[in-house]
């Protein structure tokens, strides 16, 4: 499965992780938070109107991304080691600068990050659903909500991204940033989602 420049959809879609129709819904957002696509297969509960729902979903993803970037336990360890060795005013200034760099690298909560920057999450699970998330380098976010017992869907989301590239991005009638109204994409997506989840 390639991420960039695939000239055709990869011949073998990822192996199904479970059987039966467990997918609930799917969202596609662009980097400005516009919901380009919303598909619903099985959703008995609607708590909000669609617009509010999309906004809330995008907000949740945005905040979770900034939370995971902040929490990343593998980043930065060199600054905090050596405070006691700094003696002079100058060194304190350097230390402050390093601290500033550190907070910039790790991201402050609520400050937007570029796609691919910082540590991101790829799924979360509650007792009633599992949400899988993928962000492309161009900032398009794919969200698939499925049954909580579904396995890892990262490959599936990459496949869906390939479908998007083939049927939407390469469609001459499609203007980027507008709602996706491509019959072919919808049918291919429906078919594929039915097979995976």
């Amino acid at each position: 499965m390639q991420f960039f420049g695939g000239s055709e959809i990869s011949p073998s879609p990822p192996v199904p992780t479970a059987t039966g129709n467990n997918a609930h819904m799917m969202y596609v957002f662009n980097r400005n938070g516009v919901c380009l696509l919303y598909r619903e297969w099985n959703r008995p509960l609607h708590t909000l109107n669609p617009q509010q729902d999309h906004k809330l979903m995008f907000g949740l993803l945005f905040s979770l991304k900034s939370l995971t970037a902040k929490m990343d336990p593998t980043k930065y360890h060199f600054v905090s080691l050596s405070l006691h060795s700094f003696q002079h005013q100058f060194s304190v200034a350097v230390y402050n600068f390093l601290l500033m760099m550190r907070s910039a690298e790790k991201g402050n909560l609520g400050i937007p990050q570029l796609p691919g920057q910082g540590c991101s999450f790829h799924s979360f699970r509650t007792n009633t659903y599992k949400l899988s998330f993928m962000e492309t380098p161009s900032g398009i976010k794919f969200i698939l909500v499925t049954n909580p017992r579904t396995g890892d869907l990262r490959e599936a989301l990459k496949y869906i991204y390939n479908l998007y590239v083939e049927y939407v991005a390469k469609n001459p009638l499609y203007t980027p940033g507008t709602l996706i109204r491509c019959e072919l994409f919808n049918t291919a997506l429906d078919q594929y989602v039915r097979s995976i989840a």
Partner: protein, 170 residues
């Protein structure tokens, strides 16, 4: 003479325990668990312990992260496609997993660990048990306030240690 300088009777006997000590010390530095948080029902951080993650958060950031988690947990319930959702139980990120357990009273316990670490739900239940035993039953503890109980700290350290030793057995 002999009582002053006791010589080990059998060298081979002491070897396995030495090996175990070395192994467990390696394990302790491996840090399967990065940190543990407890937040009260209104999202305030009442306990935070770091188990050797590289980027230790300062107090302000840990408070912010805790209350942010509280709201994310609530929003995830709103977005559920079916009824009866009780919030995020597991968040999987590139470099860590976050397991969350919410008690009936709304206190949330969450642990940040290495991706793919098993048995974290059990550990959170144990932490909850310790919380009820050594924090809630402490007559000097005020509800919803930061936890400062020595017994809780001691037993928590033991529980986490035990969890790491259990990992060795796998």
């Amino acid at each position: 003479m002999t009582s002053q300088f006791p010589v080990p009777q059998n060298q081979t006997n002491s070897f396995p325990s030495n090996k175990f000590r070395v192994l467990s010390s390696i394990l302790l530095t491996m840090a399967a668990i990065y940190s543990l948080y407890i937040i009260n029902k209104s999202g305030g951080l009442i306990f935070y312990k770091d188990y050797g993650s590289k980027g230790r958060m300062d107090t302000n950031d840990s408070l912010r992260v805790a209350s942010l988690w509280h709201s994310m947990h609530a929003i995830s319930q709103q977005l559920s496609p079916t009824t009866g959702c009780s919030g995020i139980e597991l968040l999987e990120a590139d470099t860590f997993d976050l397991h969350c357990f919410q008690s009936l009273t709304g206190t949330k316990f969450f642990v940040v660990c290495e991706p793919g670490t098993q048995h974290m739900e059990a550990l959170l239940k144990v932490v909850y048990e310790l919380y009820t035993d050594y924090v809630l039953k402490n007559p000097f503890y005020e509800m919803e306030m930061p936890i400062r109980c020595e017994l809780f700290d001691i037993n928590l350290t033991q529980a986490v240690q035990k969890d790491r030793v259990a990992l060795l057995g796998r």
